[in-house]
Structure formats: C-alpha cells, structure tokens
C-alpha cells in the first residue's frame, strides 16, 4: 500500500484540510450573517475583499500572505512575539488554504442565512429570546445545511490547494508537503510515478468520501 512517507503526506493533508474547515467556518458564519442581515457603509467593498481570493491567481494570494505574515511583513513581529511560526510550517499551509477557501464557505453560509425568513427571528425575539439566543437557536440551526456544504467546499478546496501554499510556506516534506505538492514532486522524480499514482487514487477516494458523507448528512438534516 502506502509507504511511510506517503502516509505522512496523507495525514498532513487531512490535518491541513480539517484545520482549514475549523478556522474558516466561524468567521464565515459571522461575516455571512453580517452580509445577509445588516446594511452598513462599504458593505460592497467588504464583500469584494472577501471574494478576492476566488478570482486572484493562488500564487498571487500566496505571495501577498508572504508579504503580510513574513518576518519583515506588518504582522511578522506580532507572530514572532506570540511564538507562532507560519513559514515552512503546516499551520502556514492551513492559513494559505483557508484564505483561498474562505470565499466559497462565506458564499454558501451567506446564501443559507439569506434563505431564512427574518420574520422567524422576529418571532423568536417577541417570545423573549435575545439577539444572541435567537441567532443560536433559530438562525444557526436553520443554516446548518449551508454550513455543511461550506465545510465540504473548504475541505475539498484545501485538499487541492497548491499555488498559494507552495508560494507561502514552500514544499517541505513532513511540514508543508500536502497531496498536490507531493504528487507534483513525485512526478518530477525519475522513479516517482508509482507513488504519484497511489496518491492520486487516495485523493480521488477522499474527495468521493467527502461528497458522499455530505450528501448523507444533508439528507438526514432535511428529513428531521
């Protein structure tokens, strides 16, 4: 089956993808709610900014992250002081894929919140629920299908992330070498084709499993 090195690639990729889901969902829910339910100045600008990574070449996104989080970037010293190292680290890969996946998650969450009748939230308020409780007991549960689709998109986008990751945190075995980077690396080695083929099969299997799982979950949600 897989060599220890290939197992490392797989486990790193899953870790990065799950990390990406975990750090994109909360801000996507907050921003999705804001964009769906509130009007404020520069809303269009904020919306555009959030969607920028969707239309930018991933390499450009990766380079901008490097400028922002690099040692000499504006956020570099802060991260240093906190003892967080992103460069050449799997956490950096999480950041890179999260930024690229964020617009997809945001879009899905926002649409599902927009579909909820705001009158339901008003009804909850008149029954004695605060804004926050209304959000937790009405808005959030009703947008769950959208959250699930968003999570799947983030997971899949993260698994496939190549350009931004390799530009931001490079391609270091055991640290930042995720599935696409590994496949690319193996294909450039004279005897790597078999290993690349095995990782391709693994990629297809994970993607398929994620699709089936999300379909199953959303069906269950719709039934209940």
């Amino acid at each position: 089956m897989l060599s220890p090195e290939e197992w490392d690639v797989l486990s790193l990729s899953l870790r990065v993808a799950l990390g990406c889901v975990a750090i994109t969902l909360p801000p996507a829910v907050a921003l999705g709610w804001l964009l769906a339910r509130r009007d404020f100045p520069f809303k269009v600008l904020l919306d555009g900014l959030c969607h920028l990574p969707l239309v930018l070449p991933p390499v450009v996104t990766g380079y901008l992250l490097l400028l922002l989080f690099g040692r000499r970037g504006p956020l570099g010293p802060t991260l240093d002081a906190l003892g967080i190292a992103l460069a050449f680290d799997w956490k950096g890969a999480v950041i890179a894929s999260a930024v690229v996946a964020f617009p997809l998650v945001l879009r899905s969450v926002r649409l599902s919140i927009e579909e909820i009748d705001p009158q339901l939230e008003r009804a909850a308020r008149t029954l004695g629920a605060s804004k926050w409780r209304t959000f937790c007991t009405i808005t959030l549960p009703l947008s769950l299908p959208g959250l699930l689709v968003g999570a799947l998109l983030a997971f899949a986008r993260s698994l496939g992330e190549f350009g931004a990751t390799i530009t931001f945190v490079s391609n270091i075995a055991g640290q930042t070498r995720t599935l696409p980077a590994a496949i690319y690396t193996y294909l450039n080695q004279p005897d790597g084709e078999a290993a690349a083929a095995r990782l391709v099969v693994v990629s297809v299997a994970i993607a398929l499993a994620a699709l089936v799982a999300s379909e199953w979950a959303s069906r269950r949600m719709r039934r209940s």
């Binding site: 009748d117 009158q119 339901l120 008003r122 009804a123 909850a124 308020r125 008149t126 029954l127 004695g128 629920a129 605060s130 804004k131 409780r133 007991t137 009405i138 549960p141 009703l142 209940s224």
Partner: protein
Amino acid sequence: MLRIHLEHALADFALSVDLQCRYPTTALYGPSGAGKTTLLHIIAGLLRPDRGEISVGDDVLFSSQRGIDQPPEARGIGYVFQRDLLFPHLSVERNLRYGYDLLPSTARRFAIHQIVELLEIGSLLKRSPAHLSGGERQRVALGRALLSSPRLLLMDEPLAALDQGLKSRIIPYLRHIRTELEIPMLYVSHSVAEILELTGQVIMLDRGQVLAHGDFFRIATEPGVLPLLGEHGFENVLQVELLESPSGAGFSRARCGAQELKIPHVEQPVGQRIFIGLRADDIILSRRSPDGLSIRNALRGPIAQIAPVEEGAYLVYVDVGRRIAAKITGEALGELALEEGQEVFCLIKTNALRLGPRVD
C-alpha cells in the same frame, strides 16, 4: 392600559397615533396599507418609531425623549403574526416551549397542559410543523405566544391565511383566550365580522391616522368611518332588548322601541340589550303591510325625511321609534309616490341584521 403616542414616517404617509386602550380587547381596523402592521411592529419593539412614547401601565417601553427603547424580548408583548411562523426545525412541543423555557418559573402564567387543552393540540405535540394543517399551525402559534406569558397580545390578522371554514373554528379559541385567560389583546383585522365576534371596541386606522376609536356601533355610522367599511359598513345601528331566544328556532325575538324584531339567534339572557347593525341597502320599503312574503320583520313608521345621496339613489329616513335610513332608487321613489309624513313599512330579513356587542 396601553398608551401610544408616536410619529413615524413611512414611504408615502406618516403614521401619527395618539391612543389609550382601556379595554381588554381592542380591534384595530383599517384597509390594507393603513399602517396597522407597522403600528404593531412598533409596539412590539421590532421597529423603532421616529419619535414618541409607548407604555403599558407604568412601564415605559419606548420614549424618544427619555432615550428609552426596550428590546422586544424585554417588553413582555406577545405577537401572533399573519403567517404562523412556527420554527420548522423544532417539534410542536419545542415550539410551544420556546418562550416558556426562557421564563423563570415564577413568571409563567400558564401551565403547558392548560394551553394545550384550551387549544386542543395535545395530539400534535410530537409532530413537526411541516405535518400540520393551516388551522393546527395557527393554533400552535397562538399557544406558543400565550406560553411566553405576555401582558399584552398583539394579533396581526391571525386568521387571514385561513379559509372561511377554518376561521369560524379558530374564533371560539380566541374567545376562550379573551375570557378565560384574561390577556389584553390588540387584534388587527380588516373583517368587521371577525372583529365583532371578539369585541366591540375598535380603533379605525387609515393612512396612518386614527379616524375614530370606541364602540364600533357608535362610530360605524360616522361619515369618515362609513366609506372605510365598504361593504361591511352599515348606516343604521339599533338598540334592541332581547325578549326570547327559543332554542333551535334559528332566531331570537327582540323589542325595538314599541315594535318587535326577529334577529339572528343569540345566546344572551332575556332583557339583555344589544346593538344591531343594518345596512340601508338591506331595507325594502312598502306602502302596504307585507302579505305572502318570507320576510320576517316589518317596522312601521312615518317618513321623516327624503334625501338624495348619489346618482339616482335616495335615503329615506323612517321614524320607527328611532330614525332608520333605507336606500332606494329614484325610480322606486317615484313609483311608490313616497313623500315625507307618509306611513310606510320597512321590511328587513332576519339575516340582514348584524349582531353587535351587548350594551353595558
């Protein structure tokens, strides 16, 4: 007591209301677009008015001057919307418990089983709202609002989405709420029939202004109010005294001045005085006593006045102990050769008489 004094600009007119609701059940009547729903939203705290003050008893809910604006959840005002707005992801029982569970037990006015029994929704508790009929959904919505123990219940045409058959089945539940639970209600409707089933106290709202406020049978004949009522309006209001309500007869006998009327059946004690509404259109004038007609009522009296009202139509005022107006065409006026002082009979079908509230 609910006190409202507010100004709020809307797209094409301004809502300007100055009201004190003293009666436990008050209806808010007006054509669509009159600002009724906006007013309810403002009272409930879902919409902030431009300026004014709203209070329930001594509790100020909103005051632009004093900078008070209680959020909806702090106001203790229940709201039954036009659509039932049940939470689709919660079972009927959890919908009912939504507001109830948020209250400390000392603030709960009703037990769940009490409301469930009153509204007869016991068999629905485990179901999902998606599997309820329209009437069941609206009853659950009503129960949900009641269980949040409101000190005032706002109802925004809660029956509008239901068909006629269902409406008449929900109204008894609303009466139970009014009389058994003693929750003050502000009930929005544009159906006079629906309103009169519940209360006689009406606020007439049109284009953001209160046209009249008070007993429906006193204000319904006011010139400003009558056009608003359209086909629901009536020009005549009679006070009658109940003589007899034979069971199964389909009518009751009542005294109107010195004469007698057969009115639709009412369940009231003998001697009770009630208001009766009657449209000028529904009165037939005859020079002779009716004979061989199915009509039940013939009030006799001299014509007091004949006045033209519109193209080819006249109002004939007949003094039957009290002046009532009958509308006839110019042609009929000519053929019958009616003139002031002449004795005529006013023929009235029992079912054309509309029952109003008791005279207290």
